[in-house]
Amino acid sequence: MLKTETITLNLGPQHPSTHGVFRLKLQLDGEAVRDLEPVMGYLHRGIEKLSEERTYVQVVPLTDRLDYVCSMTNNQAYAIAVEKMAGIEVPERAEYIRVIMAEFTRIINHLMAVGFLWNELGAYFTPVVYCFRERERVLDLFEMTCGSRMMCNYMRPGGVSVDLPEGFIPQAKKLNDHLKTFVDELDRLLSENEIFLSRAVNVGVLPADVAINASITGPMLRASGVLYDIRKVDHYSIYDRFDFEVPTCEHGDVWDRYYQHILEMYQSVRIIDQALDGIPQGEVMNKAAAKATRRPPEGEAYGRIESPKGELSFYVVSDGSGNPYRLRIRPPSMINLSALKEMCQGHKIQDIVIILGSVNLTMADLDR
C-alpha cells in the first residue's frame, strides 16, 4: 500500500474570502479535507469589557460595531434587553420605526450574503455590485434618518433617538416597491444557474438534528428545515401585528442556505409594506427612559431578537450603578460557525470556500 500523508494548509487570516480576519487550518488528503480547525480572535476588541465602563446609553454605539452590516438590529437587541431590565415601555411609533429599520437591515444583510456567496463562487464580483447598488439605496434611507450609513446608533433603550424626517415614508415606499422587483430579478438571474446548481446542491449539508444540537439559529437553521423564528416564537416588539410567513428549505446545503436568504427577503418586503402603511403619529422616545437608564435597579435581563444572521441576544446585569455590571453578547456568527467541521467533511478546498460563504459570517460579530 502507498504511504500517504495529509498536507496541512493554512487558509490564513488575510485572504480574500475569509469574510474578515479568520484563520482556518486544514488537513488535506489530496483535494479532500480531512480535518479543519478554525482560529478566531483576530478582531477581538473587548466590547463586553468596554461596556462595563460606560453608561447604558453610551453602550449603544459599541453595539453598532458588533456586526457592522446590521447595526440597527444590534441596537434593537440591546435596547430590548435594557428595557426588560429597567422596565421601560416603548411608544407605538417607535416600535413601528424599529420594525421598518430592522426589516430593511435584514434585506441589506441578505443582499450582502447573496452577493458575497457568489463572489466566492467566482462570478467575478458582478452579483456583489448588483446587490450593493440596492444596498446603497437603503443606506441612503438610513443616512437620511440618523445621519450615518452604517454605524447608526439609532435605537436606544426607550425608543429611537430621532423621529423620521419629512420625506422618509414616500422614499421608503418607493424603495420597497423597487426592492420587490429587484429581489425577483435576482432570484431569476441567479437561482437556476447550472454552474451554481452543480457546485452548491448537496454541498455542505447540515442535517437538522446537528443544527439544533449546535444551537444554530437564523437562516442557516431554517434552511435545514427547522421552523424557528424568534419573531414568531417570542412575539417581541410588534411583529404580531404583521402578516408574514417564515420560509424553510429542506436539505440544508449551500443552495438551500442561499435560497433561504432570497425567500426571507421576499417576506421582509411584505413586512415593510404593512409597517409603512400602518405607522401612527406620536412620540418616538419614552420620556422616562433617560431617568430609568441613569441608575436602573439591580437586576438582570436577557433580550433576544431574530437578527439577520440568527439569534442575537444580550444578557445585561445591573448592580444599581450607572454602568452595566456585565454585558454578555451571544454572537450568532460564532455559534453558526461551530458546525463547520461537520458540514465540510469530505469536501474539496473549493467547496470549503463556498460553505464558509454560505454561513454568512461577519468576523466583527464573531470576535466582538
Binding site: 463562487l121 467566482g122 447598488r133 454552474i195 457546485r199 435560497y259 425567500l263 473549493q350
Partner: protein
C-alpha cells in the same frame, strides 16, 4: 483606384518590387520576411494593450460601473500605466528555484503564442504565410504552452505552485481532445488543413452548418484559455496558489501577456474555422481592402463573447471540469465527427451539405438534451420546482 481596392496586398507587392530594383533576391525575401515578422509581433503585442483595457471597460459596464477612466480619455492610457508599473517591479527568483527553468518558462509560454499569428489569415492575401498544414501547426503550438506551465510550477520550489500547475495542465490536456476532434470535423468538411483554404471553402459559414461542433469547440476554447468559467487557477478566492505565484516583474508580465495573446489568437482561429474568416456576403470580392476589417470585426465579436461570459458566470469545480471534458465533450465530439463524415460523403453540393448538416445538428441537440434530462440529477429538478413555487 485599382491600387487602393486591394491595398495591403498591393503595397506589399510594390515594396518588394522596389527593393528588388537594387537588392538580390535572397535579400528581398529576407527583408520582406523580417517586416512581416515585425508586423505580426506588433499585432500580437498591441492586442494585449487593447484587450486588457477593453476587458476592464466591458466587465465594468456589465457591473454597472465605468471601468478605468482616469488615465486618458476613456482610460486609453491605462495599459501604458500598467506597463510602466510592471516594468519597475523587482525581479525576484526564489531561493532553491531552478534558475534556468525559472527564466525559460515565461519565454516558452509567450513565443508559441506569437508564432500562431504567422498562419492566421487576416484578410484576402493578408497573412504571414499559407502553410498547407496550417491548423495542425496551430494545434502543435498550443501544446507547447502546457510544457511551459509545468516548468513554471516546478521551478518555483513551492509545492502549492506545483499542485496548481498540475491542475492547469490537467485542464489543458483534457480539453485539447474535444478541440482537436472539432477541428478534424472542420478539416473534413473543407478538405484541407490550410487556413486559407478553410476560409475559401466556407460558402456557408461552418457555424451555421454545424453549430454543435462550434459549441464543443467554444467550450474547449474557454478551457484552453483558462478563462471563466474555467479560471480556477487565477481565482483569488481559491487556496492553492497559481503556477505563476513566484514570478514578479517582467516574467509575470510574460505569463499575463501570453494569456491575452492567446485570447486574440483563439478568437482569430474561431473566426477562421467557423465564422467564415474574412468573407462577408461577397463584399470581400468587391473590395478586398475591407477584408481585414471584416476579419477583425468578427474577432472582436468573439472576444466580446469571452469578456461577457467572464463577467457573468461563476467558476466550475476542478472535478466537474474534468468530468465535463472526458464524459461529455469527447463523446459528443466523436458523434459530431461521425455525423459530419456521413453527411459529407452522402450529400453532394456545398449548399445542400450545409442544410443537411444543420438539420442533423438540430436533431443531435434534441437527442442530447433528452438524454441529459433522463440521466440528470433528480435533486436538481426538485430544486427547480422549488423555484417555480416561490412567492410573488
Amino acid at each position: 483606384m485599382e491600387f487602393v481596392r486591394d491595398l495591403f496586398v498591393n503595397i506589399g507587392a510594390w515594396f518588394s518590387g522596389w527593393l528588388g530594383g537594387f537588392l538580390p533576391a535572397w535579400a528581398v525575401t529576407l527583408i520582406m520576411g523580417l517586416i512581416g515578422v515585425i508586423i505580426l509581433v506588433v499585432i500580437g503585442l498591441s492586442s494585449v494593450l487593447v484587450l486588457t483595457l477593453g476587458e476592464r471597460k466591458v466587465i465594468g459596464r456589465i457591473q454597472d460601473r465605468p471601468g478605468p477612466n482616469r488615465w486618458g480619455p476613456f482610460g486609453i492610457f491605462q495599459p501604458v500605466a500598467d506597463g510602466i508599473k510592471m516594468l519597475t517591479k523587482e525581479d525576484i527568483v526564489p531561493r532553491g528555484a531552478d534558475y534556468w527553468m525559472h527564466l525559460l518558462a515565461p519565454i516558452i509560454i509567450i513565443v508559441p503564442a506569437l508564432l500562431i499569428y504567422a498562419v492566421l489569415p487576416f484578410g484576402a492575401g493578408v497573412r504571414g504565410t499559407d502553410l498547407n498544414i496550417g491548423i495542425l501547426y496551430i494545434v502543435a503550438l498550443g501544446s507547447i504552452g502546457t510544457v511551459a506551465i509545468l516548468m513554471a510550477g516546478w521551478s518555483s520550489n513551492n509545492k502549492y505552485a506545483l499542485l496548481g500547475a498540475f491542475r492547469v495542465v490537467a485542464q489543458l490536456i483534457s480539453y485539447e481532445i474535444p478541440m482537436v476532434l472539432s477541428i478534424v470535423a472542420v478539416v473534413l468538411l473543407s478538405g484541407s488543413m490550410s487556413m486559407v483554404k478553410i476560409v475559401e471553402s466556407q460558402t456557408v459559414p461552418y457555424i451555421v452548418a454545424m453549430p454543435m461542433v462550434f459549441l464543443v469547440y467554444l467550450v474547449s476554447a474557454f478551457a484552453e484559455l483558462y478563462r471563466a468559467p474555467f479560471d480556477m487557477i487565477e481565482a483569488d478566492s481559491e487556496l492553492v496558489a497559481g503556477y505563476f505565484t513566484e514570478y514578479s516583474g517582467m516574467k509575470f508580465v510574460m505569463f499575463f501577456m501570453a494569456e491575452y495573446i492567446n485570447l486574440m489568437a483563439m478568437s482569430a482561429i474561431i473566426t477562421t474555422l467557423f465564422l467564415g474568416g474574412w468573407r462577408f456576403l461577397g463584399v470581400e470580392r468587391l473590395l478586398p481592402l475591407l477584408s481585414p476589417f471584416i476579419f477583425f470585426a468578427k474577432c472582436g465579436a468573439m472576444i466580446f463573447l469571452f469578456w461577457w461570459v467572464r463577467g457573468t458566470f461563476p467558476r466550475i469545480r476542478i472535478d466537474h471540469l474534468l468530468a465535463l471534458a472526458w464524459k461529455f465533450l469527447v463523446p459528443l465530439a466523436l458523434v459530431n465527427l461521425m455525423i459530419v463524415g456521413l453527411v459529407d460523403k452522402l450529400v453532394e453540393g456545398a449548399l445542400l451539405t450545409g442544410v443537411v448538416l444543420l438539420v442533423a445538428n438540430i436533431v443531435e441537440v434534441v437527442i442530447v438534451l433528452a438524454i441529459l434530462s433522463l440521466v440528470g440529477h433528480k435533486t436538481r429538478s426538485k430544486r427547480l420546482q422549488r423555484i417555480t413555487a416561490r412567492p410573488r
